[in-house]
C-alpha cells in the first residue's frame, strides 16, 4: 500500500492509500477524484487522465513513454512534469507521491 496525494486545480487535497500495482488513474477513478476522466479506461488512448507530477517525485516516476509523449504533445497545458496517470504504476517506491491536476482534461 502506498500513499498518493491529489491536489486539485483549486488547491483542494485528497490523500489515498492505494494498493501497489494499480495505476494512479485506477486509484483516482475508484475514489471519484474529480479531474481524472479516464475515458479510454487506461489504454493510453485519450489523455484524459493528465496529471502534473510533483517535481521532487519526477526522478522516481520517470519520463513518459513514446505513445504517452505523442498523445500529450499537443496539449496546451503540457509541462515538463506532465504524465498520464494511467501509465504510472503505484509501488513502494512511490509511497508519498504528490500529483496535481490541470484545470481541464483534453
Amino acid at each position: 500500500m502506498s500513499k498518493i496525494t491529489f491536489i486539485q486545480h483549486d488547491g483542494e487535497e485528497q490523500t489515498l492509500i492505494v494498493e501497489n500495482g494499480l495505476s494512479v488513474m485506477n486509484a483516482a477513478v475508484d475514489n471519484l477524484i474529480p479531474g481524472i476522466d479516464a475515458d479510454c479506461g487506461g489504454e493510453c488512448n485519450c489523455a484524459t487522465c493528465h496529471v502534473y507530477v510533483d517535481e521532487a517525485w519526477m526522478p522516481k516516476v520517470g519520463q513518459p513513454g513514446k505513445t504517452e509523449e505523442a498523445i500529450m504533445s499537443l496539449n496546451p497545458d503540457r509541462r515538463s512534469n506532465s504524465r498520464l496517470s494511467c501509465q504510472i504504476k503505484v509501488s513502494d517506491e512511490l509511497d508519498g507521491l504528490i500529483v496535481r491536476l490541470p484545470e481541464f482534461q483534453f
Binding site: V29, L32, P34, D39, G41, G42, A70, I71, L74, F106
Partner: protein, 403 residues
C-alpha cells in the same frame, strides 16, 4: 428518498452512477445489469483480454468495493422487464415493482445474429460479453481453424489476436472490401495487406449460406466453397437494445431518441451510450454511436442534468482499434470527407489520413500516430491548407488557414 434507477450496467451505466456520486448526488442509486458482472471494459474483449495479456481484474472498471463504498446498489443478474412511465415505476424480471424519480436507460446493444441453416451449432460464437470472450478464449487454441464472419473492427481485431496465437484464420466478408461500412478504400487496403502478411485469408464478396456439422460446427458454406472450421465468430454488427423503451412508449428510431441533454421523450427518463440516438451539434446531425468515449461522455451529461447542472452534449466522436502491434485511432467520420490528405508514409506504417470537407477537417484516421489523432480531436472543424498538411515537415498547427 429520491431514487435513480439505471438500467444496464455497462460502461455508460457504471459511469452515470459514478458521475452522480462525483457530482454530490445523495439520491438512492440502483444499477441493474443482466450480466453477472459489475461494469467492465468491453473494448478489451476483442483485444488484450482475448490474447490473455489482460489480467481478469483489469477488465473491471472499478474496484469491487467501489459500488458499496459509494452507496450504489448493484443489482446484477437482474433485468428490468417493463417501465410504466406514467407512474414512474419499473418492474423487474422477478416481479418487483420499484418507483423512480429519474430513470436512465443504458441498455447498450447486442450482436446482430446470422440466421442461416446450422447457425445454432456449437462452436459458433458472437463477441459482446465477458462470458462470450471467455468461451472464445477457451476454444481458440493453436492449430485450430477459425472462420470469422464479418470484416469489421471486431472481426479483424479477433483475427489479429487469433493469428498471433497460431490459429488458422479465414475472414469472410460480403462486401468487396473489408471495413467498408466504417472506413475508406485506402484504410481497407492497408488492413487487408496487414492481415494477409500475417497469414489471415480474406474472402471478399462472399456470403455465408449455412454451416455444416453434427453437434459442433465443422464447416462454413458459402456460394462457391466450403471452409473447414473448428470454430466460428460472427461479427456482423450490433443492434441497439430499445425494446424496453419502445414498449414503454418512449420515442425510438434507430435507438432511443434523446435531446441534447440526453433526455428521452419523457423528461425524467434519460438514455446514454450505444442505445441512444442523439443530436450532435458539431456534426450537425443525429446519430447513434457504438463507442466507449461516447458512452462515457453521454453518461456524464446525464449525471450533470440529473443534478441540475444543465450540461448539453457536444463531443467529436472518436474510436480506436488495435490490430497486431498497430494502433489505429480515429476522429470523426471519414465518409464526411470529400478530400483526403495523407501525412506520412503507408509503408512505414506510421501515417494519418486527414479528411477535409470544404477545407474543414471532418475526420482523421491515424495509424501509430497519436499526434495526428490528438490534432484531429483538437482541431476538428478547422480549415486547413491541404498542400501544407500533406508535408509532414509542417507542424499541423502551421497548416491551419483560419487563424
Amino acid at each position: 428518498m429520491n431514487r435513480i434507477i439505471i438500467v444496464g450496467a455497462g460502461q455508460a451505466g457504471g459511469q452515470v452512477a459514478a458521475s452522480l456520486r462525483q457530482q454530490g448526488c445523495k439520491d438512492e442509486i440502483l444499477l441493474f445489469g443482466d450480466e453477472p458482472y459489475p461494469p467492465y471494459q468491453r473494448p478489451l474483449l476483442s483485444k488484450q483480454y482475448l490474447s490473455s495479456e489482460e489480467e481478469r481484474d483489469r477488465i473491471f472498471l472499478r474496484a469491487d468495493t467501489f459500488y458499496q463504498d459509494h452507496n450504489i446498489s448493484l443489482r446484477l443478474n437482474d433485468r428490468i422487464k417493463t417501465i410504466d412511465a406514467a407512474v414512474n415505476t419499473v418492474t423487474t424480471a422477478s416481479g418487483e415493482v420499484i418507483g423512480y424519480l429519474n430513470l436512465v436507460l443504458t441498455t447498450g446493444s447486442r450482436p446482430r445474429t446470422l440466421q442461416v441453416p446450422g447457425s445454432d451449432l456449437k462452436g459458433i460464437h458472437y463477441l459482446r460479453t465477458l462470458d462470450d470472450a471467455n468461451a472464445i478464449k477457451s476454444e481458440m487454441l493453436p492449430g485450430k481453424k477459425l472462420v470469422i464472419i464479418g470484416g469489421g473492427y471486431i472481426g479483424l481485431e479477433v483475427a489479429s489476436v487469433a493469428a498471433a496465437a497460431g490459429v488458422s484464420v479465414v475472414v469472410v466478408e460480403t462486401e468487396e472490401r473489408i471495413l467498408k461500412r466504417v472506413t475508406t478504400e485506402a484504410m481497407s487496403r492497408f488492413y487487408h495487406q496487414l492481415h494477409s502478411e500475417r497469414g489471415v485469408e480474406i474472402c471478399l464478396n462472399t456470403t455465408v449460406s449455412g454451416f455444416t456439422g453434427s453437434e459442433s460446427v465443422a464447416g462454413v458454406l458459402c456460394a462457391d466453397k466450403r471452409l473447414d472450421a473448428d470454430m466460428v465468430i460472427v461479427g456482423i454488427g450490433i443492434m441497439p437494445n430499445i425494446e424496453l423503451a419502445k414498449n414503454a412508449g418512449i420515442v425510438c428510431d434507430n435507438g432511443i431518441i434523446t435531446n441534447e441533454f440526453s433526455q428521452t421523450s419523457f423528461a425524467n427518463i434519460y438514455a446514454a451510450g450505444d442505445c441512444a440516438n442523439h443530436p450532435n451539434p458539431l456534426l450537425g446531425r443525429r446519430l447513434r454511436l457504438e463507442s466507449v468515449p461516447n458512452a462515457m461522455e453521454q453518461a456524464k451529461v446525464v449525471a450533470a442534468n440529473i443534478v441540475g447542472k444543465g450540461k448539453s452534449y457536444a463531443a467529436v466522436p472518436w474510436f480506436w482499434s488495435d490490430q497486431y502491434e498497430h494502433k489505429l485511432q480515429m476522429v470523426g467520420f471519414s465518409a464526411d470527407g470529400e478530400q483526403q490528405v495523407l501525412r506520412g508514409d503507408l509503408l512505414t506504417r506510421q501515417f494519418a489520413i486527414f479528411y477535409l470537407h470544404s477545407g474543414r477537417l471532418v475526420a482523421v484516421d491515424a495509424v501509430n500516430s497519436p499526434v495526428d489523432f490528438m490534432a484531429g480531436r483538437q482541431l476538428y472543424g478547422r480549415r486547413f491548407d491541404p498542400g501544407r498538411l500533406a508535408d509532414q515537415k509542417n507542424a499541423i498547427k502551421d497548416c491551419l488557414t483560419d487563424e
